[in-house]
Symmetry: D2
Subunit: 367 residues, 4 copies
């Protein structure tokens, strides 16, 4: 089913942008797991709108209400359902979009697929609002992964033509805290308001977003992730490899148009002698000297960090006038998209990428 | 299951590089479809080795033998199984690889996953040899798609740092033949020995491959696809969109490390006003002025060509000496990979990309 | 996933007997279907407790609250989620059951599977209470089937050793109303308070239930279904036949221990010449003279009514003293189950059987 | 997919009765399992035809040829494919059946589903011949279960109106051999030519089959199974319980029309105080005094033997004249089915029931 993901655990997302409620059901989580609800809410807060200049001023209270699957804060082994009731919606903003599809948005394809009865208000089921339930399930998966020493770290790699500096893996490893019986990886995206490694680059990205906004325009960007602590041997050859499953999850996020692992498209441009990751022993453990394969060989993890980059297109809903069509009158028309929209969804997308990656990795762990 | 793909139709691939046979089962194909076996063999021939200077000199007879699911050449509605018996194998080439994993290859991860009983000869189930059964199933899907006016066209977009010229969509459309009741799209990859648009670029790519080979090295590249004739409204939001399903299929091809749709990573670098595809009417039909979205909005096809690019890493098996480890003696070692290997798998990968794309698109048609 | 059913449409049931809420998500329903909410509530009412002498006096308000997937009462094509908040729970009744499992109930197996963190109150996720969400989804499926001329009719075939009289198929067909463009089948179970064909048999069954209740005991029974209007050619050979899929759904109802199609176990006792259903033409249409196969040959519908019978064990929660074990003290003990329980769940199970059958049949229609 | 079964392991069956070959692919089997091929062939032999008076005289050489997934006799972790080439077919026997469907057989529904291009020869994909590949996969699963101390025992419980005597569970337990570190359960069906407990009953059943045969008729029967050594806690509530999954598998066997667990339909006729299985301690282990639940409570195993009974209808292909229809001339006609057919398939079905039960149980073990 289209709104479900996972094979060993499964998340099912429901709701439309302006429906009575939105939420998710998460199946397959073992009993006896204590959820840190405060931390989950803090994670949800990272994708919440209205936090700063570059995000929409809507006020959404995204605190999940758990209907089932937990007793107190502890999982009981059966499906976990959490909902968020929708309150602050302004459907009238969308009246014009009933007949005039927004370029770059799913208005047109939703109409073709579902016909006149699709819920077009607020983007319906296609809305970025639906990433909130993804973050509930993903936030739970992140906690359960951490319990196993697995940590997903991320950053904004670029906004428009502004690139972050530094190497994510190196940065995280240099900030790692080795405790007696475990390694604590710190996620830079969690620790700073604007998730880049270079504060200076982050500043320039925010300026670019502000500039786009002032022009009634929007801008895209790239989110980079590295997953630490994944043991070697996870995933399968062919269609259920680590790459396939992360891919199926990541392309479930609205606005994602590209995905690469390790050296990715860069690998296509170089020689094998450059791209191959030589093996060596490190303290008796097999490691590779480089990580161009992104921690995955033949679909299976090799014990190195799993690294990938996700390309987000610019928010399609922009204030600038665009060419569109009126499907009622069947005439060409100009469109100025009404309503409140992020000039760049990339900052809010960072936890969403972590969320779906967590669901994919946690799912793979159960194979 | 890892070696299966599809929801409405399903391909299951079996075999190891040096097992008695390899093959595939294709379920869900309607009864009464006449298969053009000659054309299927011609398609298989496009991925066969030994065709020219840049591919391995192994002689494989890749003609599929159909055990079930057809009566004569016509499908009967039940599972189609076709096998290829393995004959020309030289397992002794792989003895050294039992203990010394090839950098960039799945030898190491296969060992971790399956243990000492994995079949490491010839790369086992991870071998590029397993793309032959993919081409049987995909070749059937291509024929059935064509019956519905859908055609997958492709080219090599780059090898190493050599890029092809021209725009694939424009090139195909300019070569289209409009017949009375249908449009015939011609696949450039099918019509030339080295599948580029610019013959000059193709020449330079072949030189680069020859150069890499002479150095005992290998080189990667990018395959580009465009799918013509797909109606609007196919695919679903979230996890079963057109992108997700093509992604799950494409990352099933060995050596793929990146995938982008439409403008892809390029979209991350530009403004919304540039990336959005404006709608207009063309002969009463809704089309877009550009196709930066690659024919997909909200996971659903919009009626424009579906376009995507696939990054292949360089063949990991190279003759150059590399650093590796001996897992028996637990010592660092040098490795020179024995055996016959393509210096660049990209040319042979072109039909494989078409094959898995055909399986994904045909699967989506049945939703 | 265990709490999900279906391949083309999918229901996911969530909730525990005493959790904050219970509910279901139904995926795959087409857009533009107007739901008759009044009729849905009337259907839900058929399984509601507290209707008469033989059911538990609990008051449950089982009116579903739709959070998503509908705009007004019309489906919009995306997942439909409906919830029922739990209000009238008496968890203290279950304190004794924390350590002493009820014979015949899932208390013991739930503990083994989920450990001390299972939700044992009210039977948790195993509770008959979870059949309410099944009836939401099934009730929707019943309406959509009816739109296609397919009707599921049912009756209680027996309670304990008291059997109903008459033949369900004959009874329904004799009460059929042929309208101009369609046939209206009337479901006897919908039209009478106690769903038997013979009122006299129904009276005797109710007496038996009352007798069991007065003895602090319970009693089982058999529900019979016949599905009218199913076209020939639905379902598949082997593992996704009509029987397999109804079976997977029906054994999802708590307390079901047996299932037979058509002549069922009776077929095992007779000759082929007796059991085979001879073909003949009826008004140019192929029909069979008998329907011992229950409308299914080779897993595929043959156009005759699909008939099956479902055996329910007696309610395991009885007031009579039973032998059990105390898992804390590890001593044998006597148990008198506290709380309010139906002496016979069969009457309330009739709409539940219809519900899951409707989900299975509707799912098969989309193949 | 219809011809596939399983979630953690998966069998895919391919072939038609008279296609070039039949076979199966089994995915998900761990690497390093040594298969006892001699024992597998002996198991296959139990379902082979031509062994005695009551089975068809066809000579089928059902020795599987393994194409992949094994190195020598040891599994390597990737899909196992085995084929049997069809040699001894007499398609001309089936010419008459092209237009005249056999009562009780899938000829008619196959035509409706697949149209004129279905493979009707020998029953095509519906043929009992396809149970041979099921026995390859099931035979492997039986060996792997045995390695874990789990044993499936069975017998013919009845043929027509002749019942076997004795209780299967008691019989097996009384013949159990307790070795130092394990319990060896002996399967009566494996140890005698005609698999009943009472030799006298078996003799009467064979007489009945011979009688039916002499009359050009056939007869049905019931197969009973008991699975020993299954630990408590396997399976899930609702739709993936032990019952649901065995049911989905068992109804995949041609001619099955009924299935009951434990007391089954008998439970519907008695009081709760009679049907409930009281708990007690046995040597510190929780057991039940009776096993009316068939080892399953709430879909989850309780550690007692899993017991079930499967009703087989009489072979539909009989020599006696029957009423049918000619679908070409659209006239009523008489039919005398040509060819060689078992007067009773129950004896040969016993290993098939064991096979699919083994696949289901082994699949559940991986949850």
């Amino acid at each position: 089913m289209s709104s479900s993901f996972g094979k060993n655990i499964k998340i099912t997302v429901f709701g439309q942008s302006h429906s009575k409620g939105i939420g998710m059901t998460l199946e397959g989580i073992p009993a006896g797991k204590k959820l840190d609800m405060e931390r989950l809410n803090a994670f949800m807060e990272r994708r919440a709108p209205g936090r700063n200049a570059y995000s929409t001023p809507r006020k959404e209270v995204d605190k999940p209400d758990f209907l089932s699957g937990v007793v107190g804060d502890v999982t009981c082994g059966t499906p976990i359902t959490a909902v968020i009731m929708n309150t602050n919606t302004r459907s009238q903003d969308y009246d014009i979009l009933k007949d005039i599809p927004r370029p770059g948005h799913a208005d047109y394809t939703g109409l073709i697929k579902y016909g006149e009865h699709r819920d077009y208000t607020g983007g319906g089921h296609f809305s970025g609002r639906l990433t909130a339930p993804l973050c509930i399930g993903g936030g739970i998966a992140l906690q359960l992964l951490e319990e196993k020493g697995i940590r997903i770290c991320s950053r904004i790699a670029s906004i428009g033509d502004v690139k972050d500096e530094g190497d994510l893996t190196e940065y995280v490893l240099s900030n790692t805290i080795k405790e007696k019986d475990r390694t604590v990886y710190r996620n830079p995206a969690e620790e700073r308001d604007f998730p880049t490694i270079s504060e200076e680059s982050g500043k320039r990205m925010q300026d670019l977003i502000a500039e786009a906004k002032s022009e009634g325009d929007s801008v895209g960007g790239i989110v980079e992730c590295a997953v630490f602590g994944v043991p070697a041997g996870l995933g399968d050859p062919m269609f259920e490899g680590v790459e396939n499953r992360i891919a199926q999850a990541v392309f479930g996020i609205p606005a994602v148009k590209g995905l690469e692992f390790g050296n990715g498209f860069g690998a296509a441009a170089v020689r094998g002698s450059v791209n191959n990751d030589a093996f060596r022993f490190d303290d008796g453990k097999v490691v590779t000297e480089t990580n161009n394969c992104g921690g995955i060989l033949g679909g299976i993890s090799n014990g190195m960090p799993i690294t990938f980059r996700v390309a987000f297109k610019p928010t399609p809903s922009i204030a600038k006038e665009q060419n569109s069509v009126n499907l009622k009158t069947m005439e060409a028309t100009k469109l100025i998209v009404p309503g409140r929209h992020d000039p760049c969804i990339v900052p809010r997308a960072v936890p969403v990428v972590e969320a779906v990656a967590a669901l994919a990795i946690y799912d793979i762990l159960f194979d």
